[in-house]
Symmetry: C2
Subunit: 243 residues, 2 copies
Amino acid sequence: MLFTSERHLDNAVLEREFTLGEVPGILWTPSAAAEPAPLILLGQQGGLQRMYPRLVGRARSSAELGIASAAVELPGSGDRPRLPDLERARADLRRAVAAGEPVDDEIVERLILPLVDRAVPEWQATLDALLALPELGGPVGLSGGVFAIGIRMAALDPRIAAAALFAGSYVPAAMFEEARRVTVPLHVMLQWDDEGNDRQQALDLFDAFGSPEKTLHANMGGHTGIPQFEGEAVGRFFTRHLR
Amino acid sequence: MLFTSERHLDNAVLEREFTLGEVPGILWTPSAAAEPAPLILLGQQGGLQRMYPRLVGRARSSAELGIASAAVELPGSGDRPRLPDLERARADLRRAVAAGEPVDDEIVERLILPLVDRAVPEWQATLDALLALPELGGPVGLSGGVFAIGIRMAALDPRIAAAALFAGSYVPAAMFEEARRVTVPLHVMLQWDDEGNDRQQALDLFDAFGSPEKTLHANMGGHTGIPQFEGEAVGRFFTRHLR
């Protein structure tokens, strides 16, 4: 891991850009931390620079709770090389949604599975590198981003202690088995009228998760309309499980 | 309204029992309130004395937020005369559940509609009397209890400013129209594996509510397993809308 920039935000947060192989990322650590901090992997929909204002807001809120945050660019997004198969699947999805057609699981598989297959090893390598830093000690939380990536990470990586997942993107039916294997505490957010999601599938996935502690928070509005008090609820969830 | 007893709890809450006609109730007001307090009507499943430990806990938490609470006995419960039709419907419901049969809407109507028809005018009369007290100023919130009573109160009574409803009891299909007329901010709690409830109906009712701000919080476990952090979330909901 190579740090490429470093700056302080309001003397409260140290922000460092890094690259891990070809994957760019950003690490935010609370300046005041006296001991190794827990870490939240911040998911996003791709395009780190475009998502930066929202990501840094979430990272600042977590730093106030003494928790570090990190985000890495998704495969095929931002400055990373495009993935032609993924682009085709994305175009097919947009076409189906625009035509008011049901979104076929075959499209979802082509869109999501290659992304998950590529992203999860990168996220795990990121965790390997970050947790080797003396200022980070775990436990690790997952927050938002592509729903299916969060599901596989939570099912697969024993370092994940809690996950706040956003049921805001499609999940291939083939991944329900992975959802059943998730056992960490879960906080699942659902936007009730999300135009880019299937509400019934989100409810079925919530039902499928194997976690003894899981909470679903459904709020009104579309994909980007998550209310501010929901962000605060996520903060309390991570305070309960990471601090 | 006749106050029949009065005592202070830890110098923080003034607890007064009262009767309004034949309806017994309890009023809790924060001792430290400098101005007329908002009020939460605490719903419960009937049997004020049996429910007292949980009710006084909720009332104490609200008093810490500067909010008064009141609860009244349900028709046919506690020391009030039994209602034979209701008892028959309750027995029919228990029989159906024990036999693993689907709960027929006809049973739900016989069980719930007479209760709602009787309780709502009593709750409104209670509000008339309580809001005439100088120490209470509104706005008024509804918290928990029989789901259908909360729905009609929220739909009908313009003094209700916000409602935290527990989707923990059946609602007759005929009441969906009333749910559509509810427009106040809603916080709906659902226990995902509630044995005394129909999950799909609860989700359909959440969808039906006309409120622009509505949030569903689903947690794991049965009817009585609402986690403590959910009670705190309700407190924050009322702080947002009543303070």
